[in-house]
């Protein structure tokens, strides 16, 4: 299996702070890779660095065989990378429709694809002409994900999509990610909820202090409670 995205020795500084200290991992094509780690480990910065929003100060990032470490964010997006930030970053002054109009870069909506998205996220259809700012937190997350998939993307970077959401919505998101993967996209997903990670992850990379401390199959980590405890500080009760 080929790797779609590879990070080699990536270091990132934000202002005076050294956040990433040499991140190495790969995202295999067609799989869902989970990026796990404690708060402050550098997961969000890793996604922002890949997206060009916090450019790396050293190291290389290779997407489909070409380096994107020095590329500008719009160029990275145009190579087929969709980004769902932790903050969701929906444009609250714009309607649901207008948010998606901006995300549909190549022109008019594909009606079938829009219906496919509405299948996962019915509220987006219901509130099509409402301001995004008036949506609930879960609905904003749906819109943020819909914006990333309204056109087919090769790689999706998704940052903590289930944070603070009701369990019913988390279930819908898990189904959605599985379906996106079946449709051929590759996903790199930051997640704090280990249950969600177990449910959708194929491979996993665990971060600590700005470095990758573990790489492997999600199923292996899922079976090894001692490893989870060591890497993530999870007690057995936490995911009983």
């Amino acid at each position: 299996m080929t790797d779609m995205l590879t990070l080699r020795g990536v270091q990132t500084h934000i202002g005076r702070y050294h956040i990433l200290h040499g991140v190495d991992f790969a995202v295999p094509e067609g799989q869902t890779t989970m990026l796990l780690g404690r708060n402050g480990a550098g997961k969000t910065t890793t996604l922002r660095t890949i997206m060009g929003l916090s450019p790396p100060s050293a190291g290389d990032i290779v997407l489909d065989g070409a380096s994107i470490a020095r590329a500008a964010t719009p160029d990275i997006a145009m190579r087929g990378v969709g980004y769902v930030p932790e903050t969701m970053a929906v444009f609250s002054d714009l309607t649901v429709k207008e948010n998606l109009v901006l995300a549909a870069r190549s022109g008019p909506f594909d009606a079938a694809r829009l219906e496919w998205i509405f299948g996962f996220f019915p509220p987006l259809k219901k509130f099509w002409l409402s301001r995004a700012g008036s949506l609930s937190g879960g609905q904003k997350q749906m819109l943020s994900i819909a914006r990333a998939i309204v056109e087919p993307r090769r790689l999706l970077l998704i940052d903590e999509p289930t944070k603070g959401l009701a369990p019913a919505i988390v279930g819908a998101l898990i189904d959605c990610f599985a379906e996106i993967k079946r449709a051929g996209a590759t996903i790199l997903l930051v997640e704090q909820n280990f249950r969600v990670a177990e449910a959708i992850g194929d491979t996993v990379a665990v971060m600590d202090n700005g470095r990758i401390v573990h790489r492997g199959a999600m199923a292996d980590l899922s079976r090894d409670a001692a490893l989870q405890e060591r890497l993530l500080g999870l007690s057995l009760e936490a995911h009983q």
């Binding site: 719009p74 609250s92 259809k125 099509w128 002409l129």
Partner: protein
């Protein structure tokens, strides 16, 4: 575009009409103080006309700040350059300007305004590329370098046109007033109001009905996300910067005709008013800028009539009062 049948809409947030009512309330409140109705009408029309001209100059600046967090203290250069460029056409065509025919007047004024906008817009391009681009994200340097740009532009105007004040007579057909009863309304003020309303309507139309407008509004709220969707926000910003500069040039022509004279420090003098308007309105808000401009002009006109000594500080007092009430301006659109 595929249309999705609209389901039930979420309740819209109530329209914040308090700022919209402020100019109306202010105008009504001063009636008993002014006493004479005809004086009140004259002052109100003067306020609206002056407000519209300031709005034209300030509208671009508010978007420039909202979109890219750029503090452009050099915006006044575009106002001054616009006014001077207009003299290049209006003075040689004095014969057409002084004929009492609206059409002949417009044949002279329209190309003058268009040329002023084109030159100011082109200067905006140079300004953005040479001065602003190297100092993105650095407020102190932005203030210093754009202020420097304003000084250079002002001195260049002195060098090219000389230090004297250039008279810019109002076209004959726009002189004088319409008299209704005992109320006289200056023709040029009506024109200024009309142009201001057209600019406001046009700007709102672009912002709300076009994809470029959606991008600008989205960029004002979160420019990183606009880039992450694949748009080059700097190119968009350059377009907004040039359009804003062109509008400042138009404002300069209108102000020059209003005052019937042009001098190199015209931009510098107006910058304080323009900045007050942008701050009062809420940085990045075109509607706020529109209301702010009317309020500033009303306070200047009513204040100048009622308490002339207060005129020097009235705009600052207005800004202090509004910011104490709403610290982020009338309509806050950015989180900055």
């Amino acid at each position: 575009m595929t249309d999705v049948p609209a389901g039930e809409a979420l309740p819209k947030p109530p329209l914040d009409i308090v700022p919209l009512m402020l100019p109306v309330a202010l105008a009504l409140a001063v009636i008993p103080l002014i006493g004479s109705t005809s004086t009140w009408v004259t002052l109100t029309v003067a306020s609206l006309a002056m407000g519209m001209m300031i709005f034209i100059m300030a509208s671009g600046l508010t978007l420039v700040f909202g979109l890219m967090d750029v503090l452009n203290f050099g915006h006044g250069a575009f106002i001054a350059v616009g006014a001077y460029v207009a003299t290049l056409i209006l003075l040689p065509m004095a014969a057409w300007v002084q004929v009492d025919s609206l059409w002949l007047n417009l044949v002279a004024v329209a190309p003058a305004a268009l040329l002023a906008m084109a030159v100011a817009g082109a200067l905006g391009l140079v300004f953005e590329r040479v001065l602003v681009r190297p100092v993105y994200g650095q407020h102190l340097k932005q203030i210093l370098i754009t202020m420097g740009g304003l000084i250079v532009a002002e001195q260049a105007l002195y060098a090219l046109w000389g230090p004297q004040i250039i008279p810019l007579p109002l076209p004959a057909a726009l002189r004088g007033s319409y008299v209704i009863g005992d109320v006289a309304i200056a023709k040029y003020r009506l024109l200024a109001m009309l142009v201001g309303l057209v600019v406001f309507a046009g700007t709102m139309l672009v912002l709300n009905r076009t994809k470029i407008g959606l991008l600008i509004r989205a960029g004002v709220e979160n420019r990183e996300m606009v880039e992450a969707l694949g748009y080059r926000i700097r190119r968009l910003f350059l377009g907004v910067f040039m359009a804003g500069s062109a509008l400042a040039g138009l404002g300069g022509v209108m102000w020059g005709l209003y005052r019937e004279q042009v001098h190199a420090s015209i931009g510098n003098e107006l910058m304080i008013l323009v900045f007050i308007v942008v701050i009062i309105g809420g940085l990045g808000s075109v509607t706020g800028c529109f209301i702010g401009a009317i309020l500033v002009a009303m306070v200047a006109n009513y204040g100048g009539f009622l308490v002339p000594k207060l005129a020097l500080v009235s705009d600052i007092l207005l800004m202090v009062a509004i910011l104490m009430w709403r610290p982020r301006g009338l309509y806050a659109v950015t989180n900055r």
